[in-house]
Symmetry: C2
Subunit: 426 residues, 2 copies
């Protein structure tokens, strides 16, 4: 063992990582299909439980299926929690989320070694978390497990949420035996979270291009997300006169195109827009659609850009309603300004990177993470490692082994610091 925060576990991490990536692997690709509450998710959780218990952790799951591995170093003390999510999009890379959970486990293994070697430094206990349903592809909304954990989403609402086939979260979690009886932390328990750390692959390519190994995440982009319902009128798609039609799919298509064209109204990189989900009713070859539901997102590093883009989009909505004779309703919307992480956490992560000689830079995250929920409750550190070409939500997502291992070394240092009381001095 060369150094308690160094490389001793690197080989075993890479071996475990290879095993781990086989759960839900999509044949003949490098990626996975491991949606929340699926059989593959269940199998992976059982394997992960064995890994943690073999290292002396106690594994518990809470009433929304968050999986926790607990290691008590200081009897009765609060916990440093670190983790991410093992669920994936339907056809996705093997790193997104899963790397963060595995890195957290290994960071705890190393931090525990360091703290056992220096018991006086240990102020908190350690816990790894595998949050339930961060992706939100099978069950909406995303970040479900951490949202329930932080009180932002009612438990009953989450448990009753159906997937497209009608199976609820409660049913899916029961089917894989991962529905706990109650909370593991907080009210009704004798456990409390002192601080939180998370590491994730960057879902972008700036760090790779800039030669940065550790991303110190200092803020989330501003965003405005919409669920639109476009309503028209069913008609025979051949026989109805064009002038008589009120085509919901045409209206929806105009919004999809308008969202892309909106980007060109701003400087390059200042606005990202997307529509990833769109459902047509009745979706029949010879019927003009009467209703289309679609999700449309605006994202920007600048809250001002979001507001200007929002105004432009609403003008398009008015024009499409008028010209295509459809009704466009906003069924739901959710907006947030640029959302900072605590500066103290960014500075702690910077200091650890300096000490380890790892290149680092501040980066913003475009995507949301479970840490977005946790940082509103406890001191939080959010870290990135690079992703080749920024490929994300894609079977070919890839991060080099060197970067995976550097991230673990860094997170180990952060967790050890947090467990010694950094960020939580009272």
């Amino acid at each position: 063992m060369t150094d308690s925060l160094g490389a001793p576990n690197d080989a075993s991490f890479l071996a475990d990582w290879a095993t781990h990536s086989a759960f839900g692997a999509v044949p003949n690709t490098n990626g996975v299909d491991r949606q929340a509450g699926s059989a593959a998710d269940g199998a992976q959780r059982k394997w992960f439980e064995q890994l943690l218990t073999s290292r002396g952790f106690t594994v518990l799951r809470d009433e929304i299926g968050n999986q926790f591995g607990l290691l008590e170093l200081v009897p009765g003390a609060p916990y440093v929690l670190t983790g991410s999510h093992m669920d994936s999009q339907p056809t996705a890379g093997r790193f997104d989320g899963a790397y963060g959970v595995m890195a957290s486990a290994y960071a705890c293994f190393r931090a525990a070694d360091a703290l056992r070697a220096d018991p006086a430094a240990a102020r908190y206990n350690l816990a790894v978390v595998n949050w339930f349903n961060e992706e939100g592809s099978r069950f909406k909304p995303s970040m479900m497990g951490s949202s329930v954990f932080t009180g932002k989403l009612p438990l009953a609402t989450a448990l009753a949420t159906p997937d497209p086939q009608g199976a609820t979260v409660a049913e899916a979690l029961s089917a894989i035996d991962e529905l706990g009886a109650g909370p593991v932390f907080g009210s009704g328990t004798d456990r409390r979270v002192a601080s939180y750390a998370e590491i994730h692959v960057q879902q972008g390519r700036s760090m790779e291009e800039d030669g940065v190994t550790i991303g110190l995440v200092n803020a989330t982009w501003a965003a405005h997300k919409f669920e639109f319902r476009v309503s028209g009128e069913q008609a025979h798609s051949g026989a109805a006169l064009m002038a008589d039609r009120r085509d919901a799919l045409l209206g929806a298509a105009r919004l999809v195109v308008a969202a892309r064209e909106l980007v060109d109204e701003f400087e390059t990189g200042q606005l990202h827009t997307a529509c990833g989900e769109l459902n047509v009713y009745p979706n029949s070859p010879v019927v003009v659609a009467s209703e289309v539901q679609l999700l449309l997102d605006l994202r920007s590093p600048s809250s001002e850009v979001i507001r200007a883009a929002h105004a432009s989009l609403m003008a398009t909505v008015e024009r499409v309603q008028r010209e295509d004779r459809v009704t466009i309703e906003i069924v739901a919307e959710h907006a947030w300004d640029q959302n900072p992480y605590q500066e103290e956490g960014v500075e702690l992560a910077r200091a650890v990177a300096e000490e380890l000689g790892l290149t680092h830079d501040r980066v913003m995250t475009v995507a949301g993470h479970d840490s977005t929920n946790m940082k509103d409750q406890v001191p939080t550190v959010m870290l990135f490692v690079p992703s080749v070409a920024g490929v994300s939500h894609n079977l070919e997502e890839f991060t080099r082994d060197d970067d995976l291992l550097a991230g673990i070394a860094h997170l180990s240092g952060v967790v050890a610091q947090l467990a010694s009381g950094a960020l939580t001095a009272e």
Copy 2:
């Protein structure tokens, strides 16, 4: 009984029509949901079988679930076949197809009375048909039953066709006990079809506007139908740089918009375009779509317009592929020129309308009908009655009782003429 081709059965038709419209009725609307092979389709078929047998018909179904009611007046002679389809779109009007089957039954009842009263006039037997799956919403393609019947679609292909949930045609027909063991007409049987007649509500509003009660259908519009597959690349819908994206849904949306704009390149009424079905993969809130499948139709009374519109659409396909960095493949396409009905059938229908004092005019059909298949095999007559405001494939589709009854009187006359040898003199 006032007249064998007249009004004696009108009251019983209207009563039976009301009963019939309750099968698959959508609560609190005037419409139905009675997709092919559904429980409602099965229940309606059992009821229709009882109606036919109570009038002395023998009911048989063939190996693709076409339901036939046979009435032998001239032992061993070929049959005049008349009918349409009882299946519907997912939320549809109660007249589309179903009126044609019920009108055919009542037309046969009346024609049989007339022929029994004048046995020397009877040259052929009578048969009513309820074609399986004309709509093609649950199982593709449309006009499945008549396509198999006329040898245009292999039986095995049709039986193995899955619905979106994976149930095949064979399984759906077996589940409602409507899968026959073999053919009812043609090879392997001792029955032959001499001629065919069909009546349908117009899926347009020209007859209502022109005050025409009987439409003498003389041709089907030209059409070019496409199934496109737009391929891009999965990416994180927030984080991926806009310039890096290859968004399949954006490409598909541009095609939907282009199809509508194409209409404006031609004179009003010369081109109808539509996209009724569009499916997104992976259809997840935070994933740029990698694949979209969509159906796009061009229809025109003019084959020249179709060819010009096709060329313009292909230019758009090239532009979208280049500008949006997606691949657009034509998975399937099917084109036909303006397709005439036999002039002798149109003239027969005109003469019957004259005799009955019903207003009439030649009309083209934009939509396909089972008669489109049958007219390639035997002398065929295709008729329309008006539809209020041309509302079609819509819960609020409506045709007035007077027009329903006038259509039956007219079809009764046509069927009696056909059974006496009109159009089939050898």
